[in-house]
Symmetry: C2
Subunit: 197 residues, 2 copies
């Protein structure tokens, strides 16, 4: 295949994106070639800027500053409610739902001794000191249900001061879900988590 070098290069680079194969990469490259010069440069510039991004010193989320916009938001700080998530993607999913107005802490994983992930790797001591220093009243453990996730929640609960109200997000039937197609474990959890109507 003889194509212009710049086109071949960009196709090779676009193939590095997750789930993007040769066909999609060609489609993206040909689409970009139809954009105006300014738009292409703006696109490339916005990607290049991602290499400059930092991690927030408080919550471990990506941030343009030392402290991210969520952690430096006074209203969110004053809410004294902290949501603990496994990954940055989980944080973004909660932010997108527009239903949480406190601050976050990203663990970047869950306890997994077999894989060498202990409390130090998750910076649990930093999390505990933030909760104590900022007098956080409520901690929401938005950690996905799994053996490691459950263990992480139990361990975290044992570390936190007894005055802190620690809660885990609800498990049950997702919106739009149908009992018919759900697995037994989800149905078991949904039955356990029933609430007065």
């Amino acid at each position: 295949m003889e194509l212009p070098e710049s086109l071949t290069n960009s196709i090779e680079q676009l193939k590095r994106l997750p789930g993007v194969g040769e066909k999609s990469a060609i489609r993206y490259a040909l689409d970009i070639l139809r954009w105006q010069t300014g738009d292409v440069e703006q696109f490339a510039e916005s990607i290049a800027q991602l290499s400059q991004i930092k991690k927030c010193q408080r919550c471990n989320m990506y941030s343009d500053e030392e402290i991210c916009s969520i952690c430096s938001n006074v209203k969110r700080k004053e809410a004294k409610i902290l949501c603990v998530v496994e990954t940055i993607s989980d944080l973004i999913a909660i932010e997108k739902s527009n239903n949480f107005f406190g601050s976050y802490f990203v663990l970047n994983g869950v306890l997994n001794p077999l894989m060498g992930v202990g409390p130090e790797e998750l910076k649990l001591d930093k999390l505990v000191s933030i909760i104590k220093l900022e007098n956080i009243d409520n901690v929401i453990l938005a950690i996905n249900p799994s053996v490691e996730g459950d263990a992480t929640c139990s361990y975290l609960n044992s570390l936190l001061p007894s005055v802190t109200n620690v809660e885990r997000i609800g498990f049950g039937i997702p919106m739009g879900g149908s009992l018919e197609y759900l697995d037994s474990l989800t149905i078991k959890k949904a039955l356990e988590n029933r609430r007065k109507f």
Copy 2:
């Protein structure tokens, strides 16, 4: 949603790619954030270079130089066989198949009087003069089957010197296809285009 500006920017930009929505854009951006700085810059640089790409003066394909690498390839020129395609994507598809070793001409469309696409828009005079000047012996019309495509082929055939051998690519059952699931028109074409076994 409160995210770092650079992340929001790059998500917005990634959403401009064809078929990429919010979820895929976030997935791409978070993946890029995990790359090494050098890799991110290389990626952005390769995209930015696309804005510098030219069009080949001979065949209308994208090119880094005035004449693309295919047109300036002596072996391909000496084959004296020219493949006429509708779009650059079609050219890339043929190049990827590694089955054609002549040169190309990209029409960038087909005749469509209702949409204001006439012989001038497709630069058919340029195509005819290339065929005459370079003494092309064989012209392959790799134009997709459609009313406009058929009309374009007929018109082109009438323009070309009678000494030139003009052929259209074969129509029939695609490899891996099954008669059971093919449309009547394809089956009709496949029956018409039968060859001695």
